[in-house]
């Protein structure tokens, strides 16, 4: 699937994460800001990539501002951002969820 427009999900509150997806042509790039990057940076990126993969997105730039979100929050915010970026908020892909 191709990202058609930039889309944002999440807030900057503690224990939340803000995910900004933008169209790109050179694969998946992730720019991660997080206070727990040292301990959980790899896991955060892996969770996001898994979601992108399940939507078959191959080219996207992801800007992540993490405020210590748990894994399920990161997953939920990424799914929301993807649905918005793909303009399919009215047709959730249940098999992905």
């Amino acid at each position: 699937m191709e990202i058609k427009k930039s889309a944002l999900a999440g807030t900057l509150e503690s224990s939340d994460v803000q995910i900004l997806l933008s169209p790109a042509t050179d694969g998946i790039t992730i720019d991660l800001q997080s206070d727990v990057k040292k301990q959980f940076g790899d896991q955060i990126e892996e969770t996001i990539k898994k979601v992108l993969l399940s939507y078959k997105i191959e080219n996207v730039h992801v800007k992540v501002v993490d405020k210590g979100a748990l894994d399920m929050v990161i997953k939920a915010r990424t799914i929301t951002a993807v649905q918005r970026a793909l303009d399919i908020v009215d047709e959730p892909q249940w098999e992905v969820l």
Binding site: S14, S15, D35, V36, Q39, F40, Q43, K67, G68, L70
Partner: protein, 512 residues
């Protein structure tokens, strides 16, 4: 070598600095030789000096040890003014030995380190830009962290030999009689500074209010003071203590506080004449409120409350639920202001409060201590010094000292954000698990297996599930996942002394 709790202490540090490894929380009854300060006799001429610059020139030489107290906390004007002059006058190789370092002191200490003005530091703690700089190897020599009781011990035995103490006070007379409870920048108890006044070779009082002679009550006495300097303002009253401390509304903190209260009132120590110490965190304040109700309900009164004092504790004193407040520092305005009104709010120095090497400290008589933790491990060891990223951001304070109480309760959430509070091994051991009795989290409690008596007393409390500490650790991991281990270099940037002066752990430089 590895010390008793399996922490690796580099041999060269043990050898070069003459340390022994931590072995036991028992101090025993050793004979200890104290040191005495050098006294320059004077017969009552005024000690008032015109300026800070002049008094620094009179007293300070390269290589000396200087000290400050942190009773002005984030409202301190004295530290920055004195350090500015010291830096600008090109002094070198000083040892900085304050009772602690607050955030307002960070930037100027970092500058002093960069310029070679300060080459050694001993403190209760540090945080912010200073903690960051030290954790990244800014100092060649490791910082030595000591608890408030241990600092008193180290000063008495000469391990810390203070050449010049620069002590800010909200009032003083021309001879140096001073207290902390009156004046624009009043902060209450002078507890930590009393050690410096008693043991430093030169004692400089810095005040913004010269009182008629003789100024009483005199916590610091003219017999101890060499010079008095008047400056415009010693502190910002709005930042010295937090204003009215608010009661937490955080449901997690309230749950923890309520459970702490359940643990206390169902322990064998909750009886008439018991004593307690609480910290200043949200949960600790809430505990004070729950405890008040329990004391009213069961007609139980406390003999004393100890340590850093807040307004809710003063309320208990005024209500007659606490007989005495033994006050080494005041965390808020309410507690500071009440000191000269309440004769049962006794100012105590750091030695009386918590020093193991004297003829009896208040903490020896303490029944219940409620303490916090950045991290706690399955051996019940507590870290209050290094953050989740390995960077120094905390203070020992009275943690090790109060933890020797008969019932030491550590209150901590299972996780903070994505960081587990209960882990397999804490990054830095500050307080050994041997002195910790009960851990209280929002999901339930864990009891140190060596306290089977408490297990019997607390096993069947309604609404207070008892887990093993390993079970709590597992719950935390399930929530947040397994963290990648932090990376450090071989360089040691800080030493953590136990309260008896042995080495309990070291902190390494973080690898970025």
């Amino acid at each position: 070598m590895k010390n008793k709790i399996n922490r690796n202490i580099p041999d060269e540090i043990m050898r070069e600095q003459g340390y022994t490894g931590f072995d036991s929380v028992e101090f025993g009854n050793p004979d200890i030789q104290r040191v005495a300060p050098k006294v320059t006799a004077t017969t009552g001429n005024s000690k008032v000096v015109a300026s800070l610059a002049e008094v620094i020139e009179k007293t300070l030489h390269n290589g000396m040890t200087i000290s400050f107290h942190h009773h002005f906390r984030e409202g301190d004007y004295v530290f920055n003014q004195v350090m500015r002059l010291i830096i600008d006058n090109g002094y070198q190789n000083l040892t900085l030995a304050p009772s602690s370092l607050t955030n307002v002191m960070n930037d100027i200490v970092v500058e002093a380190i960069d310029k070679g003005v300060v080459t050694n530091i001993t403190s209760s703690g540090m945080r912010g830009s200073l903690g960051d700089a030290v954790s990244h190897g800014a100092l060649a020599n490791p910082v030595i962290f000591r608890s408030h009781g241990n600092r008193a011990r180290a000063i008495e035995t000469g391990a810390i030999k203070i050449d010049v103490a620069f002590l800010g006070v909200p009032n003083a007379d021309e001879m140096g009689n001073a207290n902390g409870m009156d004046g624009k920048a009043a902060f209450g108890s002078l507890g930590y500074a009393l050690m410096d006044a008693q043991y430093a070779d030169k004692v400089v009082l810095i005040t913004d209010s010269i009182k008629p002679y003789p100024n009483t009550p005199a916590s610091i006495k003219q017999t101890q003071v060499d010079y008095v300097v008047e400056i415009d303002a010693v502190g910002n009253p709005d930042k010295i203590g937090s204003g009215a401390t608010r009661f937490t509304k955080d449901p997690k903190e309230l749950k923890i506080a309520k459970t702490v209260n359940d643990v206390i009132i169902n322990s064998p120590y909750f009886k008439d004449g018991f004593s307690f110490q609480t910290g200043s965190g949200g949960a600790a304040l809430a505990v004070t409120r729950f405890l008040r109700q329990a004391m009213l309900d069961k007609h139980i009164k406390a003999s004393f409350a100890l340590g850093g004092i807040t307004k809710p504790t003063i309320d208990l004193l005024e209500e007659g639920l606490v007989a005495k407040v033994m006050d080494v520092q005041d965390f808020d305005k309410g507690a500071a202001e009440s000191m000269h009104l309440n004769k049962n709010q006794q100012e105590i120095d750091a030695s009386w409060y918590a020093d193991p090497a004297n003829k009896g400290a208040m903490v020896d008589k303490l029944d219940v201590a409620i303490l916090s933790a950045l991290e706690l491990d399955t051996k019940f060891n507590v870290n209050v010094m290094s953050g989740s990223d390995g960077v120094i951001r905390g203070a020992i304070g009275g943690h090790q000292d109060a933890a020797t109480a008969k019932l030491t309760i550590i209150s901590a959430p299972l996780v903070r954000g994505r960081i587990a509070t209960i882990v397999n091994d804490v990054t830095t051991v500050v307080t050994p698990g041997d002195s910790v009795d009960v851990v209280v989290t929002e999901v339930g409690i864990a009891i140190n297996p060596k306290r089977q008596d408490l297990m019997t007393a607390l096993r069947d409390l309604p609404g207070v599930p008892v887990y093993t500490i390993e079970e709590l650790q597992q719950m935390a991991v399930q929530k947040v996942g397994t963290a990648k281990p932090l990376e450090f270099t071989d360089k040691v940037v800080a030493l953590i002394e136990y309260r008896d002066g042995s080495l309990i752990d070291v902190i390494h430089e973080v690898k970025d």
